[in-house]
């Protein structure tokens, strides 16, 4: 167990971007809330204030989540490739650490540590901005932008999204680890070319689209699996009509997600790919 703690620490030493990117985004958002224009009409009623808060919290969360997704993609591709590129893999392999432990530690960072860092940063930035805007708006508008009930719901959404995306995207994660453990160069290219080749080959030689549909569904099918599709709350907001902040408890669909066969087929494929990445890591010393 202790070895895993050191392995995770190691990842934070090597990849300082794990916390520097969210910290930078947090600073930028705080600056924006400090110096951005606050329109008085946004806060002229309790209803509007609540709707503004919901918008802001969601926007902050989405921004952090988007940055995290991009960084995770890069991290997973790089994590078993960087040390082969600079040959330091020979140093890591001279230590009593199994290749399984190495790969699992990187998986842990990508699926648990990294999301928790972004989650914490999103919370810190949201609270800070809410505080700043409250003070600024209070001086002029008399309405505080402070909505603890909304904020608590957002915590639930974050945790739910962290867990469900980790499961749903496990095949993608596993595939990126395989590429990272295997490719001699150009990991980005290798991450997309083989799937594209398979799709094209299937289309040309068999004339079907099974792979395309499977990959397509995996990439964009998450929202429809993990959230309740009937809640078309996102479109309901307009300037005249206050945005009806949805209750998180109505849009999350954990039962639907967990009972979907696609969820578990994907998880199995992902686990197989992770096992393959461990094998590749064992066999390739550079």
């Amino acid at each position: 167990m202790n070895t895993y703690v050191w392995l995770v620490k190691r990842e934070f030493w090597e990849n300082r971007a794990i916390w520097m990117i969210p910290a930078a985004i947090g600073v930028l958002l705080t600056l924006a809330s400090l110096f951005g224009t606050v329109e008085a009409t946004f806060f002229d009623s309790a209803e509007r204030t609540r709707s503004m808060a919901a918008m802001m919290f969601l926007a902050f969360g989405a921004l952090f989540f988007a940055a995290m997704s991009l960084y995770s993609y890069w991290y997973l591709l790089d994590c078993l490739y960087a040390d082969r590129k600079d040959r330091s893999v020979l140093f890591w392999k001279s230590l009593p650490i199994s290749d399984t432990a190495t790969v699992l530690s990187k998986l842990f960072v990508a699926l648990v540590a990294l999301p928790m860092v972004y989650f914490a940063a999103a919370d810190a930035a949201s609270l800070l901005a809410a505080f700043v805007l409250s003070v600024r708006a209070h001086a002029r508008l008399g309405n505080a932008l402070w909505q603890p009930d909304l904020w608590l719901q957002l915590q639930a959404v974050w945790l739910y999204v962290i867990v469900t995306t980790a499961i749903w995207y496990l095949p993608v994660t596993g595939w990126l680890l395989v590429v990272s453990a295997w490719a001699k160069r150009a990991v980005m290219l290798w991450s997309v070319l083989p799937p594209l080749a398979v799709i094209l080959a299937e289309r040309l030689f068999i004339g079907t689209h099974v792979c395309l549909r499977a990959i397509d569904d995996r990439l964009i099918g998450y929202v429809s699996r993990a959230f309740d599709g009937d809640a078309d709350w996102a479109d309901s907001w307009s300037r005249d009509q206050p945005f009806a902040a949805p209750s998180a408890w109505h849009i999350l669909d954990p039962l639907g997600f967990l009972s979907s066969p696609a969820t578990w087929i994907g998880a199995l494929v992902g686990a197989a790919l992770i096992a393959a990445a461990i094998q590749l890591r064992t066999r390739k010393a550079d």
């Binding site: 202790n2 040390d83 040959r87 140093f91 001279s94 230590l95 199994s98 432990a101």
Partner: protein
């Protein structure tokens, strides 16, 4: 005593190229063995097999373990420096010490620190800021602070200047080597380690061509400097190699009858480097 390393019928192919052609060798505890061969002879493949970095055919036992299956366990009792400059460039000296201390049960951090203090290397610097010679000393200090039964060095001083090379071997001999340790080493600079070695293994085109202790070299091989007029008679004794030297010709004999050969000229024990050249020169004696 049972050997520390026992290879039987050890083979490895890369595609159709044979890197190790079913070799047998053993390394006894307490020895310093030089594995010597030209480029592409199979040295590195043999070392990688011993270290569990590559799969192989045949049987191989290192410290009673099967290296490829049990690399992590093996590395708690064996250590290696494969090539210079494979320490990760982003790590600081102090973090490297902390990390190895965290994951290695037989690592003594205080020992690593005192060795580094001797070499005037401070802890906060990152590896990428250090010269090649300093990097090597850091790696050596980390490795020497591990109480390992087997140390494997693969070209540990490649590309270093003569001062750094001397420093490296001085530290190895004076601060590390004792009766309980065993070292397996490959290098191109045979002359520099000749005095260290207790045994040599010559490897060429995937085969062991000489497996001999240093004491045995003196009794098994002789070099005789012969003048032109004695040459025909000396050649009749079937030397396995000859080369010109300062107007004379040096003839190399295996299992020589010194009583008779002494008559042809001055008899000496060939150096490891000379023996290496003599043994591995291709084609008939000139």
């Amino acid at each position: 005593m049972s050997p520390l390393i026992q290879a039987r019928d050890l083979g490895k192919k890369f595609g159709s190229r044979v890197a190790l052609d079913h070799v047998n060798f053993a390394v006894q505890p307490g020895r310093i063995v030089g594995l010597i061969g030209p480029n592409g002879a199979g040295k590195t493949t043999a070392l990688r097999a011993v270290l569990g970095l590559t799969s192989y055919e045949g049987t191989l036992e290192v410290l009673g373990r099967e290296p490829f299956r049990e690399r992590a366990a093996l590395m708690s009792e064996a250590s290696f420096i494969a090539d210079v400059a494979v320490l990760p460039p982003w790590i600081s000296v102090e973090h490297a010490i902390e990390f190895v201390g965290g994951v290695h049960p037989r690592f003594r951090a205080d020992r690593a620190r005192s060795l580094l203090a001797k070499a005037d290397i401070t802890g906060r610097r990152r590896l990428r800021e250090l010269s090649k010679g300093m990097k090597t000393m850091v790696h050596l200090a980390l490795t020497m602070a591990i109480d390992a039964r087997l140390l494997v060095l693969d070209e540990p001083t490649l590309g270093l200047d003569i001062l750094a090379r001397r420093e490296f071997y001085d530290a190895l001999v004076n601060d590390y080597m004792d009766d309980t340790r065993t070292i397996l080493i490959t290098t191109h600079q045979v002359e520099e380690i000749e005095n260290l070695l207790t045994d040599v293994l010559f490897i060429d085109r995937g085969r062991i061509v000489l497996d001999c202790s240093m004491e045995d070299i003196a009794s098994r091989y002789a070099a005789i400097a012969v003048t032109e007029d004695q040459l025909a008679a000396a050649r009749a004794e079937q030397p396995f190699h000859e080369r010109p030297l300062l107007g004379k010709r040096v003839l190399y004999f295996e299992r020589p009858d010194l009583q008779r050969l002494g008559a042809f000229g001055e008899v000496s024990t060939p150096s490891v480097a000379d023996l290496f050249v003599a043994k591995l020169s291709r084609g008939a004696p000139a």
